[in-house]
Symmetry: C3
Subunit: 261 residues, 3 copies
């Protein structure tokens, strides 16, 4: 049996040792765990951004992976601490919507509230449940402790109001949901929304001129705008060897129009 | 026996491959070592900032962990290269104060100067002892080489002049010692300095109005200032879902006043 | 036998989970692989910068290491996907010059085009070969699959036009090829170019006054400019405890003059 994989996704940044401390706690309980960083650069407190990253990344991990996610503006308050069991993976984190898109994509089997304190650190702070609750629970899961040992089942999971595409007279309207490191504008529109294959479309963002839909960056000249289905399956607007976010002065929330032509 | 854990804390940033190269050197000597990044974003040459991070993180790692820390403005000069043995962990790095707070918190058993070159890389540069001295020494330690094989004992350890709280007529005066990724202002004041429990206090920073001392972020409205005992045990000043550093235009060194009320 | 080491070098940044996803893919195929980040902060699309980092870091890893590098502006176009076998290491990535300096430094034994799709993910996107091609190939290599199983041999490897030093009437002229995290200006000049030992030289950058060549930072006062042979064997221009890039307003490409005196 291969050692368990535990991924970490947080908004902790890299300046402090918060993520490193979580790893120390995990290795103290499960010394063999394989620890993988998804990202620690989720914009502070931005639950939706973290949820989208987690949903995009989780399918590429082996069955049995334990995903710990901590974007937790309500830490110490009333939001529950949970684990979510799915056929393919376990998710551990706050019940604030962060786990919802990834877990529902796999199919939620069970939600457990992390109420059993014998699986937490002996002293639980009111500001850092990543270290005091989520890390030790993930490590005990990796050691083979059964999910229902961690607390009582809950009905349902907090969801997120993610923006959905809406039909328009001429086609469909979506929006930018993420700007990646390259300045690519990732939208909430998928191949299905574009009516692939066999429909010609015109794409624009805000008041921009139509942007050609292509299959690969090389189909336009360096410095030109293009639209393509990105590696996550979503429509992305990019500049070849450049930044669409800078070119279009666009950020998450910008409207994207798709028109049949 | 679980493989040894080696943590890395540096001011190398992420742009270069300096930290990766240290890991390559370690794995060439001790292929099983578990490598954990604490942070590589210590402000360049800021020994005190690195020392505080190390002291805060080390207690969360299992017994036997080897902590390598490199914030080393005097590299190639007269400062010694050392290892420090404590009951709980080993520390490897320059003797410039960086290791002092963490090692003294555990209790210093032995300080060894890393003078035995058979445990260094064959060619030692005058600018990158992280790669040429500290990484190979940590890897040999992880392989079970005894601490006193690495060189001669030294008496004592370079210390740091960390700012200490001072009593005032009305209470106690401390200062901000770290601004974290969220803009929280971490001070050098602890629960003891506030006289918990049972004393009412008024907290202010610079010329700010009094800031309420609470137990958790949710006790104030979004966007409001608060003070609480943070996850490291120190008084922190924060803005709920925001940045206290921005709100108060405050940085490390800012004075914090605690007054009995 | 120790588990294979796989290093990752990309321009993916830390904001997204692209590097994490590559690790998930690798662990799904080779659960024991040791994963080491060299850097994910190569400037976007800057193949030369990535190539220099890889060449500098690879020699410090144990024999048998598999280096995956992805700085890939031509992804989805005509550039080939390759692996390069050398006596000391394997390199996996796009054939755009990125692998050339590191692989030729070790000696190229064989170049294989990654044409056998059974070693790729079932669905290969046109924008993320790091995830769909390079990660799974590296993982299969780590599992012991022979290099020639991945496709047909190629003759040669795309090279890079890296700037070379040129002799001048008074000495030699080089240039800055990298600015590191500390603001040190790494040049393409080596010890040999300076005629060590036994020749006195005067170094300047752009129109700067001559800069003293020293052996270690401590030979000049804090805040002063110095030149030294850095840890990678190249001439570097630095400011003690400061940033030469800021002081001289210099970036990659800046001319560096060495004159005999």
């Amino acid at each position: 049996v291969s050692p368990a994989i535990i991924t970490l996704l947080t908004d902790f940044g890299s300046r402090d040792a918060y993520a490193g401390v979580m790893k120390g706690v995990i290795l103290g309980i499960c010394p063999e765990a394989r620890l993988i960083d998804l990202s620690h650069s989720v914009p502070p407190q931005n639950v939706a951004a973290g949820a989208l990253l987690l949903r995009g990344a989780a399918p590429y991990f082996p069955a049995g992976t334990i995903h710990v996610a901590v974007v937790d503006p309500g830490v110490g308050g009333r939001r529950a601490a949970i684990l979510v069991q799915t056929p393919r993976a376990m998710f551990v984190g706050p019940d604030n919507g962060l786990l919802h898109p990834a877990a529902t994509a796999f199919g939620v089997q069970r939600v457990i509230e992390l109420s059993r304190s014998e699986y937490h650190l002996p002293e639980v702070s009111r500001t850092f449940h990543g270290r005091d609750v989520f890390a030790p629970v993930a490590a005990h899961l990796a050691n083979g402790v059964a999910p229902d040992a961690f607390g009582a089942p809950r009905h349902g999971l907090e969801s997120l109001d993610l923006p959905l595409p809406s039909p328009t007279a001429e086609g469909v309207r979506g929006e930018v949901i993420h700007v990646d490191h390259f300045g690519n504008l990732v939208t909430n529109l998928t191949r299905q929304d574009l009516g692939f294959p066999g429909r010609e479309v015109s794409i624009s963002i805000a008041e921009s001129a139509p942007i050609p839909l292509v299959g690969t960056y090389g189909e336009v000249e360096i410095g030109e705008l293009l639209a393509l289905i990105g590696s996550g399956g979503n429509l992305e607007i990019a500049v070849r060897d450049g930044s669409a976010a800078e070119r279009l002065v666009a950020a998450a929330g910008a409207a994207v129009q798709v028109r049949s032509v």
